[in-house]
Symmetry: C3
Subunit: 656 residues, 3 copies
């Protein structure tokens, strides 16, 4: 278990470095990430490498017991490079070039840029690939930029040619007959504009991910040529990027994430938990939180500071979801540059800010529990399928301005959290055998493989829940040729007759109780007498919903010891709790603990030993009933039938 931060010694005089390292140790830090933006100081002129100062930093850190993660600096090319080789700069719409002055101003597909990036990565690895205090490498930083320049466009055309073989196949896949959009030559295909053909849009997203896979591959090879095998290689994903992260993660040893409160001014525990689970799902192994915020950021409209205690609960939540390290961004702000107001551990005078006390408490926590947690990992019987590709296409064509995949996914994730049940989140990985329940909130793009996997899973006794809009399209982003859920309709014994947009919300009622649904409403029908209707739309609904009066909204069918459930609407919290409760009961599963509202239970397993991490996300004290006596390793206490958590309190429990 590591605690630490990003550190930029190149921004300060060398005489200051010992003081920084002393303060890090006082804060309980055991790791620092360096150099990922330092290219202009690592290679101040083409081919001139100045790595001695890095050597001194790494050595000095070793003396202070602070391990180092080295970042390759390709996210911030120096001005000498981009001015000598302007062809490496990305282009946006209308040929607008992104120039020097910020970051990520490069094209991942540029052979020239790849050559420079690989060379600096290789030079660093040659120097530090055997340094005992370097524990790992980070490639680049938060892949982000897509470019629409001519060279990238030509690469896209080549990629399409390899994928489709013939233009006839591409035109068929993208419905070229529509609006005379047929292509007659490969070089007529350009990067999509907003509102482009959905087939083109999806292919472009996949191609851009492919570019980063290749870009990353070059740097990995350059490092591996020199680095000892014990030094792992990772990338830290942007909080909210647009790539096929599973493809990018494939060649990495470790997946890291930058966990900021990035959608709302205040922390939403369920969203962060779900995000961590998605990142962990990329490789189905533990992750690093390579950046997180020390209280606040600077880039929001409203940059609120977290309440006292929440930096700690957030850190422990992430550990509960599989993080083996938490690093704050950043140690101390540069005097200049775009992020002067971003949160930091030290103040502008180089001395600790008040928040450092709370961070140091996390350091003490980690020191106390490292032995217990080392090697432990989450292990779950529930999987959520939530793929980047579905989110891409639903964002591209939401059909309702208020539809949002993040919130919709929460309508399934949050009831599980409230039930004390922990989950894995899978993207394209489809080995479902470890699970007893699989939920797909919005599996918009169906294909035969996923249909087969879910069919087989149910046949083996598994339980499947499909959310609205599932199997609406195929994997080319085309309308599926059957009504939903297409290849699973027969298994379900039912299907979707039609779908309607809901302005505010609609009443529903049935076996799950009465409540409201929003955003969309699908009109379902049963085709088998075995299929049960769990919810129906109100007969006296709003004007538009006359079409839905008394129609089924949720279908369920038992199949042997398994089952399949189709949810045709976005359920409110109470209905979602009922639905999840029912399928958990069918799957004979229950939560780790019965937690009150606002308290979350996470689990890591050390072989067969279960370690529960209980986090109170509220500012009030909470009591959690325990099924048996347990030891709290943070509080050094044993509780028999319940444990009390202070506001923003945390407990790390094992059975006595």
């Amino acid at each position: 278990m590591h605690l630490g931060s990003a550190w930029y010694p190149e921004q300060w005089p060398e005489s200051r470095w010992p003081r920084d390292l002393e303060l890090m140790r006082e804060t309980g830090f055991t790791v620092a990430r360096i150099t990922e933006f330092a290219w202009s100081r690592l290679e101040p002129a083409d081919g001139v490498f100045t790595l001695d100062w890095v050597q001194r930093v790494v050595d000095l850190a070793a003396q202070h017991g602070v391990a180092i993660v080295l970042g390759t600096p390709s996210a911030a090319p120096p001005a000498w490079l981009t001015f000598a080789h302007p062809e490496v700069l990305p282009q946006h719409e209308h040929g607008h070039v992104q120039g020097h002055g910020a970051r990520c101003h490069y094209r991942a597909g540029s052979p020239v840029y790849q050559s420079y990036s690989n060379r600096i990565a290789g030079e660093m690895a040659r120097r530090f690939g055997r340094h005992p205090n370097v524990i790992g490498w980070q490639i680049d930083n938060e892949y982000w930029r897509m470019s629409r320049d001519p060279e990238t466009t030509a690469q896209f055309q080549g990629w399409l040619r390899r994928r489709y073989g013939t233009l006839d196949a591409l035109n068929a896949a993208w419905s070229g007959a529509y609006w005379s959009q047929d292509y007659f030559a490969w070089d007529q295909i350009e990067a999509p504009n907003p509102g482009a053909n959905p087939g083109l849009m999806l292919a472009w997203q996949q191609f851009c991910s492919h570019l980063y896979v290749e870009f990353q591959h070059g740097q990995i090879q350059a490092i591996r040529a020199h680095a000892e095998a014990r030094q792992w290689i990772c990338h830290n994903f942007h909080p909210n990027d647009d790539f096929d992260r599973e493809a990018i993660g494939a060649e990495l040893d470790l997946v890291a994430w930058d966990a900021y409160i990035h959608r709302t001014p205040r922390f939403v525990p369920g969203e962060n938990a779900h995000d961590c689970d998605r990142i962990r799902g990329l490789k189905r192994k533990n992750i690093w939180i390579m950046e997180t915020q020390p209280g606040t950021v600077n880039w929001s409209r409203l940059n609120l500071h977290q309440p006292q205690g929440q930096m700690r609960t957030m850190a422990w939540q992430m550990v509960g979801h599989g993080a083996d390290a938490v690093l704050y961004w950043q140690w101390r702000s540069a005097p200049g540059g775009q992020e002067q107001y971003h949160g930091s551990v030290l103040g502008q005078d180089g001395e600790p800010r008040p928040r450092q006390v709370e961070i140091a408490r996390i350091g003490a926590d980690f020191a106390k529990t490292s032995a217990l947690l080392d090697g432990s990992t989450p292990r779950n019987q529930v999987a959520i399928l939530d793929r980047w590709r579905d989110r891409w296409v639903l964002r591209h064509q939401p059909h309702h301005h208020a539809f949002n995949c993040v919130e919709h996914a929460q309508s399934y994730y949050a009831p599980l959290q409230r039930a004390g049940v922990t989950v894995d989140v899978l993207d394209r990985h489809l080995d479902l055998m470890p699970y007893r329940l699989v939920i797909a909130p919005h599996l918009h793009l169906g294909d035969d493989m996923i249909a087969f996997a879910l069919h087989a899973f149910v046949a083996m006794g598994g339980h499947v829940v499909l959310g609205m809009r599932s199997f609406f399209k195929d994997d080319e982003n085309r309308l599926a040729p059957e009504r939903q859920p297409g290849p699973l309709a027969e298994l379900l014994g039912g299907r979707v007759r039609d779908h309607y947009t809901v302005e505010a919300s609609l009443s529903v009622a049935g076996d799950l109780g009465a409540g409201r649904v929003r955003s969309f409403a699908e009109d379902l029908e049963t085709t088998s007498p075995e299929t049960q209707v769990w919810l129906r739309y109100d007969p006296a609904a709003t004007a538009e919903a006359g079409w839905l009066a008394n129609r089924p909204a949720v279908l369920h069918r038992r199949v042997g010891s398994g089952s399949i459930t189709y949810v045709g609407a976005w359920l409110d919290d109470a209905l979602a709790d009922q639905l999840i409760g029912r399928v958990l009961a069918l799957a004979r599963m229950e939560g780790h603990l019965r937690v009150p509202v606002g308290v979350e239970v996470c689990a890591r397993w050390q072989g067969e030993r279960r370690i529960l991490i209980v986090v109170n996300h509220t500012d009030a004290a909470q009591v959690v009933p325990l099924p048996q006596p347990m030891r709290d390793h943070l509080g050094d206490r044993v509780s028999s039938d319940q444990i009390e958590l202070a506001g923003y309190g945390v407990a790390v429990l094992t059975t006595v």
Copy 2:
């Protein structure tokens, strides 16, 4: 009377076509529009024409009793054309080129593009100009794009030179002395930017309309060279375009419109009625609804489906306002392409969606009433003057963020509807002799001809109502040299002293009762003792309106048996009803029926026989009193003194 849809057989295998046509007949369809986006399949390479499949479609449709309207495909040029001739692509601000991938990516003024468009239109006409199952032609689809490229700019300069003769005349017309905006050479004049000189802006709008007149002329000639005279030629206007539709309509046999619910998520009956009347007014004859929505669209922020019954009431409303055909867009969605989520009659599996039942009911309605309605047409004694040019300039300089010509026009249109009075809407056509009452809600750009026409109309005993801001400017978009209403001030015996913007609303009171006005308030004064003040602003008005305290807001003067009324503000509904009621009484006119709120009465005339179409736009049952016994041709019933309409009910009545 035709019912039908757009159909894209080129998107589907030929083996599917018979099933589509069978389902069309089951839905009561008698017409389909085809080929308007099929260029890439009609001419897959330059000069290579593949029209055999169209022949098979037209023949097969004939076998099923479905007549065909052929669209020329120029709204969607194929990629081979635009890549071989990139000069045909339009340019937006900053030289940004609109490329392949959507539609309307062409310049109407391009001679190259005109040549290609005319050639394909001619080829189609050569093949189908005598086909008995082809009843008409649609040129292009929804003219939309304006281009600011150098060639179009040069054409604009030439058009200006022909219009103004000398730069001195142009500089005088556009107030060149203002901000040193004088031009010293024709080639210094460029397409307007947002916030441009109002004279330039107006000229540009007129020039762009002229480009489409010429573009359309080429295709009409190409078709007429081969087509039998019985095949009419139309264009289907965009729901909300920006051109001089009267100029474009002049050479067409038939004007068609694409009636979508395009401003708000829910249907506003008065707006659609007004829109249909405006379209009918272009040629003063019946129209086609070439596209309308089967329940929902895909391009709104919130794509609501219409309530059950409203597709039918909307169709009947449009028939009531002069439509002889209603076609849905579209029959079945293409698997790919930008409009996958748009409403359609069939579902993605090719079988009818639930809404098809309601559409089939309209088909049955039309079958039942076709004989009655054939050859009938609206005929009215009230005209509304509502010109594109006034809307252009008021949108360009609204002077109040909440001023909106559509809503303002409704403040005159809706009271007439509530009174059961039907109207013609005229643009530049000024033969007012058929009318007894003429209303100009916002005749901002006055000119001598229109002043003369209104003066003569009043002198002949007609009644005129002018709304606020009338005669503020001249036809060059210059301030008129007199206070409003300029040349009609003497006839009115009054004029506008000044005008004020109103934030929320102001109180008024007088002969018309008490109420509120909004948006703008003009300070009127009488100059003749015969002129009556019908409304005055409240003496205790808001701060700004101190200027308006007790000032006249509405003036009225009897002139022989005619009258002129000037309305200096935007009246609320009750005041507007009073005003319209008064002028109707003066003109000795009354409504076709006394309709309750939410019920609309329309009238078509078969010679001297009047056919009333009564539409209940509400979901509740309504009772309409009848002045004499009438037969309802839809319900096959005769009613003596009243008729009951179910929610969303329709009746087609004639006197027994």
Copy 3:
């Protein structure tokens, strides 16, 4: 004292001019500004000057007793110039050129444009530099445009080289190590994009101001070569520009301002007063209001007219704050051009609009009081430091979407107004000896000179109030190396521990009473036992503010007979009144009068004689107590112990 307007005789036939001048005299006008947009009529071709018509205008105006201010026409270059020399046009982002058709379409740094501008200015001065009816000159009009073209960029690079000497110095100043932003050559530095490095952003703003200083210098030289010394030279600043106005004002004889209601639809008296004080502070002498609105403008979303009486109160407020002239924009609208709907004195028919009566009343006021007011000027003992540079950087990085310097400055300005205390507003001018109280609401960029000046001021017995965020950064827009208020922390005996963003507001309480603060909250600490805590944050604050519970929010320390106060938050009105009341009491100062809410007292001094201008900004009558009998020179009345003002009433008082 002058009253007048902008007048554009070039837009009208010469035969109309006498009538305009007669109407001006009837309105009480004594001055008109002409020619500032007339270049196309002053020089209709390159080197061809047509100034005879100006001669006739100036002579005719002299006959009518209307003095003339001549504007150089460089804000609106004619088309022949920009088409012959397109390199004078400005470029925006992505190389987008601003072309002909509006105004300010020139680059201040263009030598070609400077040459043309200087030549026309010189020609005008040669002709009118000795004309007795020309009293002054206006250079250009509302400097506004910044350009990012290559030539300007090269000038920027040269300016940086002169400023920093070496790239090492520049990289150090701008934190080049951050994100590898180091520059390796001067020509790598480009104009900033949104979100650029703060050091670059600040330097660019300063450079752009420098360009206008140089541009203006050329025209001043050209005029001075011919003009008599009695003819002053001014520039009229845009209501809301982005330049270093103090630098631009340095070479001018007179500073003028264009006082429009430009931020909100309705007049905010405190903002206009503060704006006038800031403009007067540029040269610490009386100003001209070169443009103000006759009731309304045309360029707002909602163009409300001022209530009756407010044109007069606004004019008198500006006189009270040091204006010696008030000119309306404009006399009469051009028939065409972009501002047809802007307020004017005459209507479109050339006859007075109703508002002219109120303006004529101001003319009568000025005639009555000119002798009294001539040579008088404001003189104050309170100074507010409010620098453009602080506003630039706080707008660039507000850190809270609702933070706004204008409103924040009002939280100090308004309590002074309510207390009847008048102020000077200073930018970089730091001669504080005339003052007893100095307030810096947001002195974000500290430097040694300002710290020294404030230190010395306190040592001499002065009282200083610093608002939140003061001394956060240095004059390179870098984080200061000490916690706030840096060099004044020792004097204060306290400092800022940390700062927090506040979503809505927080409770505070203490010696100043109880109330609320908003936007930001700084956590203060005392380091000296002499330092008093005047306010503390509530112990039971919101979640984020747990960090602030019971922490000091306002510190105060007496230093000899002086004091320093640090305010760590944005106080509500009542707290601000308490704070200002306390420091006024310490400074032994009181207001000119005790004014009721909505009434403002201003003061001008004629030697030791004080003239009070009392303005009722409300529409209700108000009573103002008088400390001694005074004469109202407008009302021709003497009042003993109180004076009554009608709604929107004004009094000009001197002690009897």
